[in-house]
Symmetry: C2
Subunit: 189 residues, 2 copies
């Protein structure tokens, strides 16, 4: 009748959650996401690297229940753009989320439905509160895997389509050896 | 109109969240919670130690929103019983919670409304899923502060009364130098 409590040891160095459902996103799974399409095509041909892996422990889609998942976002760039996760709104748009950075260096791009963006840098120990209604994408701006834990309502769901189509209004690039958050030239509000 | 995203650096060594609301529970705030009432009274007279501190970042009580908080649970015993947090059910009983152990050694006692108990040991990296309907209390079984982060629905609320009155069906004690989870002699189902 009651669900069993669960205790799992998460490896903060590798992000692995024993027994969790693992998914893998390769660069070929992210067609159209990066600005430099030639660089993307070249990299897909030459090994199609893993961009990120997710280990998720999820419950039924019920109000008030909670899921948790780690993400291992690998270092890399497509052209000037740092590797990132696809990013999404929640299908139930008013569902919040909490991220906890465990290892590496990166940040989160957030965006309202109207395209107002925010950039929050993350390092181990950074806790990010994603308020209701904001799309969110993480970016690895470092040289090692960027690993974080996320907790989200079990009934939040994912809307990837809006971001897949329009992207974010900002992009995170390396220029002159620096991390820069600049306007997305392809963005149409 | 939209709430602002928030990024805070949480010190995993001290549990401190800059800007968070801090609350302090001293032993005198926990009258009736420990089995050995004489030992409790003596300790309250002799310094009334802090048992735990909580740093909370909380939102309005809205469905789908999330709060987070760290707890610093100090090492200590009242008689044979290890220091613990008061423990509670959620006021909205079907709200889940996720705990992440950051430092020190301890565990979580969980209990259904009918008094069926579970004990989950926790060390840094342990993530505990508290399913809907389970009361939960953390216990420090080590010699240093036991520090953890919790994420819970903003509309979960707290029902402390049931546990304050009846306690848990199990108690966590030190006996012969060992940590033991044993039946609570005062428990009435
Ligand atoms: Mn999300
Ligand atoms: Mn709780």
């Amino acid at each position: 009748m009651y669900k069993e409590p669960l205790g799992v040891k998460v490896d903060f160095e590798t992000g692995i959650i024993p027994g969790a459902k693992k998914s893998v996103r390769r660069l070929s799974d992210m067609k159209g996401y990066f600005l430099d399409e030639k660089a993307w095509e070249e990299m897909v041909k030459n090994g199609d690297p893993v961009v990120y892996e997710v280990y998720a422990v999820e419950q039924e889609e019920k109000e008030g229940d909670l899921n948790f998942a780690t993400t291992v976002l690998y270092p890399g760039k497509v052209g000037k753009e740092f590797f990132f996760t696809k990013g999404h709104f929640h299908a139930k748009k008013d569902r919040a989320e909490i991220y906890i950075a465990l290892k590496g260096k990166g940040g989160m791009l957030l965006q309202t439905p109207e395209g107002e963006a925010r950039w929050i840098p993350m390092e181990p120990g950074t806790v990010v509160y994603v308020p209701p209604y904001w799309a969110h994408r993480t970016v690895n701006t470092g040289n090692e895997p960027f690993i974080f834990l996320a907790i989200y309502p079990a009934d939040a769901g994912h809307d990837y389509g809006t971001i897949a189509e329009k992207g974010f209004s900002k992009v995170v690039i390396e220029e002159d050896g620096e991390v820069k958050v600049v306007d997305n030239p392809r963005w149409k509000s």
